[in-house]
């Protein structure tokens, strides 16, 4: 009896499954996002203090969650590559990095736009902002390392996985150190002991948006993985073709 991850080790099977899964995933993501945006703009009430700017939150908070989840996807994939040598793990890690970085950037930009009316500045050196910025640097580091080794993709994958796992070990430390350093950003108010501290009129749209964002992340991730697999196939086909042509030329020369 094979587990699902073992069965997916066969790229052809993964391609079949993902091809079937992708339209459903993207469709559901689009539906949820449309419904979430409708709730955001027409149903959710403006905050009594923050006014309409509170609507930025419906983009900002899911983006920040996905920024962290993206890194977890990379971490799990890195572990899968280094420990189990799962053939799709590297594809998954590579595909997740730019998507995670994009969500991190989205969280930073929407946070800045929200910070200007609320705090009076686009950027403050607060713990939460700083640690997300560092997360963004880690994403950039992963992508830079991979692109610096582009002549040897297998090696690039392994080294990036090492860096990804080091990042996982160090991220909590960075997070805590920055937390104790200085703080302005509000503490977590949805996932906390004693239930959410947000009224349901705002919580429901937020959760719908979060679900939509999450599905969108996985749809994008799956698509990027499919693209990467196809890219690798094209590369190996090209290499085979070049070799065949070289052999042919050698034979005609004789």
């Amino acid at each position: 009896m094979q587990t699902l991850t073992q069965r997916l080790a066969n790229p052809t099977r993964f391609m079949e499954l993902s091809q079937w899964l992708l339209p459903w995933l993207s469709g559901l993501a689009a539906l949820l996002l449309a419904y979430g945006l409708y709730l955001t703009f027409f149903v959710a009430p403006p905050d009594y203090q923050q006014g309409e700017t509170v609507k930025i939150m419906f983009i900002h908070v899911p983006a920040a969650w996905l920024a962290m989840m993206g890194y977890m996807v990379i971490a799990v994939s890195s572990f899968g590559l280094l420990v189990f040598r799962h053939p799709l793990a590297d594809v998954s890690a590579k595909a997740a990095a730019p998507i995670g970085a994009a969500f991190t950037l989205l969280a930073l930009v929407t946070g800045a736009l929200w910070g200007k009316p609320m705090w009076g500045a686009y950027w403050v050196w607060d713990a939460r902002l700083t640690s997300v910025l560092i997360l963004f640097f880690l994403y950039l580091g992963l992508m830079a390392l991979r692109s610096a080794l582009d002549e040897d993709p297998a090696l690039a994958g392994k080294l990036t996985a090492v860096l990804g796992l080091v990042g996982v070990a160090v991220l909590p430390v960075i997070r805590f150190s920055v937390d104790w350093w200085n703080t302005l950003h509000q503490p977590a108010s949805v996932l906390r002991v004693g239930g959410p501290a947000i009224h349901s009129s705002i919580l429901v749209p937020l959760l719908v948006m979060a679900a939509g964002f999450t599905l969108m992340f996985f749809a994008l991730h799956l698509k990027a993985m499919r693209n990467e697999i196809l890219r690798r196939r094209v590369r190996s086909l090209t290499m085979a073709e070049v070799e065949r042509a070289a052999r042919l030329e050698a034979r005609t020369a004789e």
Binding site: G141, L159, I174
Partner: protein, 222 residues
Amino acid sequence: MNAFWTLVKRDLLLALREGGATGTALGFYLIVIALMPLGLGPDMQLLARIAPGMLWVGLLLAALLSLGRMFDTDQDEGVLDVLAMGPLPLELVAAAKAVAHWISTCVPLAILSPLLGLMLNLDLAAYPVLIGTVLAGSPAISFLGGIGAALTLRSRRGGLLIALLVLPLYIPTLIFGIAAISAVVTPPGSLEASLLLLSAVTIASLAIGPIAAAAALRAQLG
């Protein structure tokens, strides 16, 4: 363990006889700190207040300069392949390299830092803490830096890449190092808590650094 200390001794001897690396780091540290008052103006009060931060940031950048050489020359000369085949596990090879880097770069920088503190009008009471925090925190620079050096061994633009990979990892060391000195210069603030956290970060990096660096080296040698 014998092989470990032999390797440390060899690296230190090489650093001593080649010269260069340590001197460059010290010179860089000196000039970065000397540039700061030029940019900020010679306000002694202001300089005294920001001195802990500037000394630490300057030290991180200076130590970063020589990280690239940690494995590079050994890789070019084939020494790394010999070491990989030798009796010492690669983890300990990486640790020995980091120890040598710490002694040859971070310790001289730590010794220089009080002099630079003098230039920045740092409170005299903070000097023992300054040296103490730098000595307690800088092993993390060498051991985490070893990961960066190992990861960028075969990449073309190694030098710039190391900074991008490693500087984010230095943030806890930087924050707690500065917090410890600031606790003395501008109370309130707990010196003991910061110092303990700084040491904790160092100990954690002693554990993570060699393992990750060895994994990276193994991928490139194998």
